[in-house]
């Protein structure tokens, strides 16, 4: 890629291209997660007995995970603020805080999976648990992807003080992942 693409720098809408693309990525993710949640809800309303299964999910761990994600959202916003001020050190710090909280999330998630499986609630126990593992697994996959991309941005771009806008873009994605969890949490943990 020897030359810069002019197209990427253009902005007829007034939204920078990268951010516009992230909005579209989020739009497509909304329908993917929304489709999953809609099918879950259809089943949930049909099978009243799923409430009993939901009682076995660990609200404490789910709540802790919500807390990690909310806090990480806060940090990623701070990272964005720092990036706007072109403060590489602070931006990197907050990005790594976010990654750390994502790691906490994944750690709690693994512990939760391990306990549930050891109690006999596997992917195959019932359709509730199938949905539970599919939805949280898909979400966890997104968290993992976000962490990897964020690490790349922190070390590859921000350290070298370039591509500052990427902090905002990954932040948008991260907030979206947070929002998905905000909805998964009451669906799978609280509503009984």
């Amino acid at each position: 890629m020897g030359h810069k693409i002019i197209a990427t720098g253009r902005s007829a809408t007034g939204i920078p291209t990268g951010r516009l693309a992230v909005w579209w990525v989020i739009a497509s993710e909304i329908v993917i997660f929304g489709g999953l949640i809609a099918t879950y809800l259809l089943n949930r309303f049909l099978h009243g007995s799923w409430a009993e299964s939901a009682a076995y999910t660990n609200t404490f761990i789910g709540g802790a995970n919500t807390f990690w994600l909310l806090t990480s959202s806060y940090f990623v916003v701070l990272a964005h603020s720092a990036a706007e001020k072109r403060d590489a050190k602070t931006a990197r710090k907050y990005l790594w805080y976010t990654i750390g909280l994502g790691g906490m999330f994944m750690g709690f998630k693994s512990y939760e999976y391990a306990t549930e499986i050891s109690h006999g609630f596997t992917l195959f126990t019932s359709n509730f648990w199938s949905f539970y593992y599919t939805a949280t697994g898909l979400h966890g996959f997104h968290v993992l992807c976000g962490m990897v991309i964020m690490a790349i941005i922190a070390e590859n771009d921000i350290k070298k003080e370039r591509n500052w806008h990427r902090v905002e873009n990954i932040g948008l994605y991260w907030h979206f992942v947070d929002i998905v969890w905000i909805f998964l949490f009451p669906l799978l943990y609280i509503a009984k």
């Binding site: 909304i30 009993e52 806060y74 990623v76 006999g120 359709n127 979206f176 009451p186 609280i190």
Partner: protein, 135 residues
């Protein structure tokens, strides 16, 4: 984008935490107040999903700066959500019901109806287990 004035991120974050505590506490409050039936359901729904919506709004509006974004972005997201509602209600006529006009679903005995014990049968749920086994 740089010139807009948004409230302090810390304030939003604290507000989100407060909302989060309420949403977790909802079912507990219902238990403490010994609510039953419809009132309990309404309380849980409001604390769980009403507050989830509020939280999502705050994250979207302030953390994601959607409030200060060009008008395209919120419209894109809203239209996607609207389509999901179309899908949900179009599908709900049969996927969400157990019987309808001239059709009915044959009753299914779900394994979890039988009451799971927390410390029962570790991991021996092979995949063909779900088709109606007894406990």
């Amino acid at each position: 984008m740089a010139s807009h004035s948004h409230p302090s991120y810390l304030k939003i974050y604290i507000m989100l935490l407060v909302l989060f505590v309420i949403s977790v506490a909802g079912p507990e409050i219902a238990d403490i107040m010994k609510l039953e039936g419809a009132t309990r359901l309404i309380l849980v729904l409001i604390t769980a999903f009403g507050i989830a919506l509020v939280k999502a709004y705050y994250v979207l509006a302030y953390f994601m700066h959607l409030k200060f974004e060009k008008i395209y972005a919120p419209y894109i997201l809203l239209s996607m959500v609207a389509l999901l509602f179309v899908f949900f209600f179009g599908t709900a006529t049969d996927a969400m019901k157990s019987e309808g006009h001239n059709w009915e679903k044959t009753p299914i005995v779900l394994p979890e109806d039988k009451g799971f014990d927390h410390h029962d049968d570790h991991g021996d749920h092979s995949h063909d287990d779900h088709s109606g086994h007894d406990h």
